[in-house]
């Protein structure tokens, strides 16, 4: 169904809900009345013709009053149906001084954290939300940073908030913030903090866990330790200036965030990408995917107590890093993509090197399987642990290998094609429940491992078929007309989406990065009851959550 048909469907069912159909946007949107939002959402989810079970993105945009128009806050809901392969954008306009909306947590549980973020950063209140509190900023922070008229305080608990002040002041004596309980204590259970400084949380994430002995009653994730406000920064540094910041969103898969951002701006400005540049993008991305999956699978093995596989993967990853260094000059923060191409060409020497590395790498994967994937202890630690069924996976917004691990064959590269992926021959990997049931932790691990093989296949074809030509079109100054766009790429942690609002200036008016780890975190609390502490570690590892990607 096209967007207008969906709008007609909605209008027919709930005539008074729809305010306007905004077809001029790149992603056409339906504006609905705030009071009827939940109804509209429920209809779109359950109606047999729409069946939008997946809430892709929920975010807000702050519109300052300009001239006649009063200010408002727009909540944006990107919906998608895996079944029908169509999507729609819902918007509601809220009063800027007192933004209140109904929560859609009851429709899609994944909305929980997205709405919390809107509450935290934009000050939108969601009635009926189960746990509405700050998520990124400290609980005692004042103000909502993504509001356009937000003034940053100079100091927070005696800490200067800008660099000049730090340099002037020298060493800062930190006054620690008062401890704020993260949850109401429940009598009878032991509460303890797992993280931020815990070896298994993959970065600084905190889990408040309530245990009864070794068995968890629940684990409540708390994030924000790595929040750098990259979305806010992007409003200040312009389109090109944001490119290096996207490296920092997902440091294991910087190529994908680069790519997504480039796609978004290219779509806004209608920029063509030369063919050779597309090949360069694919080669760099797939190399990066292998590197990222290596960290994910290796770190999972390390969480389960086997240190050696991790370092074997790190060793192979070093070679990818060396190749990346040749391609784009950095080992981690690539900043490789540009609007209309890539920053540097991949020369023939590098391509030969990639080929030789692939020849070397394929036997290594067999060795890795012998070392760890086939190990009975390892399998027993993962099989049948933290099973996610496909319905849950969709409702909680899992994407990428986590979603495919639950048996749903959905890969953005194949199903919403971008770049030149549909020219290559490769398969979408899904979980098969080899050692347990479909959707268990082992499936997610196995998906990643087999995806590495698919990436190797793509890489071989891309290295073979890379054409001659330019790698970058000359672009004028990036100054898109006022519009909105949402683009997505298939990153190593799943769909990596970029929602960009432009207002006709050379800087994005609002940007929101939809990352796989952020949505994956919501399911941990849901899955945690009845797990053991060691299982929680396996669950976190198998979901491959990455702290900077959660916090951005």
């Amino acid at each position: 169904m096209t967007e207008s048909e969906i709008c007609d469907r909605l209008k027919a069912a709930l005539p008074d809900a729809v305010e306007e159909f905004e077809s001029q946007l790149l992603d056409p949107a339906i504006r609905v009345k705030p009071a009827r939002l939940v109804e509209a959402c429920r209809f779109l989810r359950d109606d047999p013709s729409t069946r939008m079970h997946y809430l892709r993105l929920v975010t807000g945009v702050d519109r300052l009053p300009a001239g006649e128009t009063p200010g408002r806050i727009e909540m944006v809901y990107h919906l998608w149906s895996y079944e029908k392969r169509h999507g729609i954008v819902l918007r509601v306009h809220l009063d800027r001084d007192n933004p209140v909306a109904d929560t859609v947590c009851g429709v899609w549980p994944v909305a929980n954290w997205g709405e919390r973020e809107a509450f935290d950063l934009l000050g939108v209140t969601f009635t009926g939300h189960p746990d509405l509190k700050r998520i990124m900023m400290p609980v005692d922070w004042v103000g909502h940073p993504l509001r356009k008229d937000y003034q940053r305080p100079d100091r927070y608990h005696g800490l200067p908030t800008n660099r000049t002040a730090v340099l002037e002041q020298g060493r800062v004596q930190v006054a620690t913030a008062e401890h704020v309980a993260k949850a109401e204590p429940v009598s009878g259970y032991m509460q303890l903090n797992m993280g931020p400084h815990h070896p298994a949380t993959h970065g600084v994430i905190n889990f408040l866990i309530e245990t009864d002995g070794e068995v968890l009653r629940r684990a409540i994730p708390d994030v924000g330790y790595l929040h750098r406000g990259i979305e806010k920064i992007s409003e200040m540094v312009g389109y090109l200036g944001t490119m290096p910041y996207t490296d920092r969103v997902d440091y294991l898969g910087a190529m994908f965030t680069n790519h997504g951002w480039a796609l978004a701006v290219e779509k806004l400005c209608n920029i063509e990408v030369p063919r050779r540049a597309e090949f360069c993008r694919v080669i760099a991305s797939e190399l990066n995917r292998i590197a990222s999956h290596q960290i994910a699978t290796g770190a999972l093995a390390m969480d389960l107590g086997a240190f050696t596989p991790f370092l074997h993967w790190i060793r192979e990853r070093e070679k990818i890093n060396d190749i990346m260094e040749r391609i784009c000059g950095a080992r981690l923060t690539y900043n490789y993509m540009r609007f209309g191409g890539v920053s540097r060409d991949i020369d023939q020497v590098t391509i030969d090197e990639i080929r030789r590395w692939l020849d070397h790498y394929e036997p290594m994967m067999l060795e890795f399987d012998r070392l760890i994937s086939g190990n009975e202890i390892f399998i027993r630690r993962l099989a049948n642990v933290a099973v996610i069924d496909p319905d849950d996976a969709i409702a909680y917004g899992l994407v990428g290998p986590n979603l495919r691990g639950s048996g749903l064959a959905w890969d953005v590269r194949r199903d919403e094609p971008y770049s030149i992926y549909n020219e290559f021959e490769w398969d979408v990997i899904t979980g098969t429940g080899v050692h347990g049931v479909v959707g268990d932790a082992f499936d997610r691990y196995d998906c990643r491992l087999r995806e590495i093989r698919e990436s190797v296949r793509i890489l071989r074809q891309a290295c073979e078929r890379i054409p001659e030509g330019e790698v970058r079109t000359k672009t004028a100054r990036i100054k898109p007309a006022a519009n909105e766009v949402y683009t997505r790429v298939e990153g190593p942690r799943g769909e990596c989406g970029f929602f960009v609002v432009s207002d006709g200036t050379d800087k994005p008016y609002r940007s929101r990065f939809r990352t796989g780890s952020f949505t994956a975190m919501t399911i941990i609390e849901h899955l945690s009851p009845g797990l053991m502490i060691a299982d929680l570690v396996a669950l976190i590892g198998s979901l491959d959550v990455l702290a900077p990607e959660i916090d951005r």
Binding site: F307, I377, R381, I533, A534, D535, V537
Partner: protein, 423 residues
């Protein structure tokens, strides 16, 4: 005749010109000699446990394509000393909320429990501190002190992660004592004595005289003892009490400096004790092939000393091989979960080890020792052992060769890493 007893008597006779049986101060001389012996044993523990930390790190390095510590001293062989001195100079932190007596006493118990086991380890033909007639039972008993120490450390720290570590270690060590005791019972049945020297004496120097190759049940008992010994020593895949990715460091999380060091010290020395018990019970201990214990006892002067040194070397060599295997297992396998750990013990090891003890008992009653059936069994088991070793070597070689050519293509240099040219 105990060598320490003999030396003490010699001391009394030669120095004080007195008869040790009647001299009233003999006990002082005895105490001094035993004390010196204990210090020697401590020196062995120290120079074993210390360098083993370095060796383990070097092995781990090689397994992981790294180098490992190679800066302090030639090839980094003084790394353990640097670590020890560093720990000695570290501040000794005691959590304000800890239960001080328990917290402070825990390292003593852990170390004492570990060190006590050294009393009955027969390092050589006569190199043993005390040949107790309840030797094996004594080892089982005294190492239980370690559990008490770990539980005290976990509870006394008043840290939740430490508490998990303490409780886990108690559950684990207690459970795995059962299969290890049953496996050793098979040996006791064969040897007819609990004394460690007696068990070694019941075997011989040649592999077909070792208990491990006597019959299939003892072979199985050896493997099961080895597994449960790894578990009792808190080593991977059973290192749950100090699982760094789950409960961070477990019971020793609140310890610092020297107190922390004693936990590690005990862990590494425990590894040696496990290996030594496995050696003496299953692998023929210090027995020199072709030399009977009587011949050693009858030897005089330097020949006697030479035999002692040789038997000592054989014992340490066998033990070190097992220690190496334990280290390699640590860097190969992932860790079990708590429930799987318990299942492994109670559903697999306990019934099977009881079965092996039963089997040994029945074979003893049915099969005449030295008879044709006995020898056929020994030969078959030896063949099995050789086949396992052969398969292992073949597999290792195949793994190595499979990667060699590709590696050369990638790096343009040799894959082989000769031990005589360490980086």
């Amino acid at each position: 005749m105990n060598i320490m007893h003999y030396l003490a008597d010699l001391l009394v006779r030669s120095l004080f010109k007195a008869d040790p049986a009647t001299w009233p101060y003999t006990w002082i001389a005895y105490a001094v000699v035993i004390g010196v012996g204990a210090l020697l044993a401590f020196a062995f523990v120290a120079i074993f446990a210390g360098p083993v930390t370095w060796i383990e790190r070097r092995i781990a390095g090689r397994i992981q394509s790294r180098i490992g510590p190679n800066r302090n001293g030639p090839q980094g062989c003084l790394q353990w000393l640097a670590d020890g001195i560093k720990c000695w100079l570290k501040e000794d932190l005691v959590p304000a909320t800890a239960d001080k007596p328990l917290y402070l006493a825990a390292p003593y118990l852990v170390f004492t429990g570990m060190f006590g086991a050294f009393v009955v380890l027969p390092f050589g033909a006569h190199v043993i501190a005390a040949d107790l007639n309840v030797g094996l039972l004594y080892i089982l008993a005294v190492t239980s002190l370690v559990v008490v120490g770990l539980l005290m450390a976990g509870w006394g720290s008043n840290s939740k992660w430490a508490l998990f570590g303490g409780v886990r270690s108690a559950a684990q060590l207690v459970s795995y004592e059962v299969p290890s005791a049953f496996s050793l019972m098979a040996v006791v049945l064969m040897a007819g004595t609990l004394s460690t020297q007696g068990i070694v004496g019941a075997q011989g120097g040649w592999p077909w005289q070792w208990f491990v190759f006597r019959n299939p049940f003892l072979f199985a008992a050896f493997i099961m003892y080895f597994i449960s010994a790894i578990a009792e020593g808190n080593r991977t895949p059973f290192d749950l009490p100090e699982a760094e990715s789950e409960i961070i460091a477990g019971y020793n999380i609140e310890y610092s400096g020297m107190r922390f060091l004693f936990f590690l010290f005990a862990e590494w020395a425990n590894m040696w004790i496990m290996a030594a018990v496995a050696t003496l019970a299953f692998l023929g201990g210090w027995q020199i092939p072709g030399i009977s214990p009587e011949r050693i006892a009858e030897a005089k002067g330097w020949t006697f000393v030479g035999w002692q040194a040789l038997s000592f070397a054989i014992f340490v060599f066998k033990g070190t091989c097992l220690v190496f295997t334990i280290i390699q297992i640590r860097w190969t396998l992932p860790r079990l979960r708590v429930d799987q750990l318990m299942i492994t013990c109670w559903k697999y090891l306990v019934p099977l080890s009881m079965g092996s003890a039963t089997g040994v008992l029945l074979l003893m009653a049915l099969v005449r020792e030295g008879g044709i059936v006995d020898w056929v069994m020994r030969g078959a088991m030896l063949l099995v052992g050789l086949l396992v070793a052969g398969a292992y070597i073949r597999k290792v070689r195949a793994t190595f060769m499979a990667d060699r050519d590709n590696y050369k293509k990638m790096e343009g240099r040799d894959l082989w890493y000769p031990p005589y040219r360490l980086p």
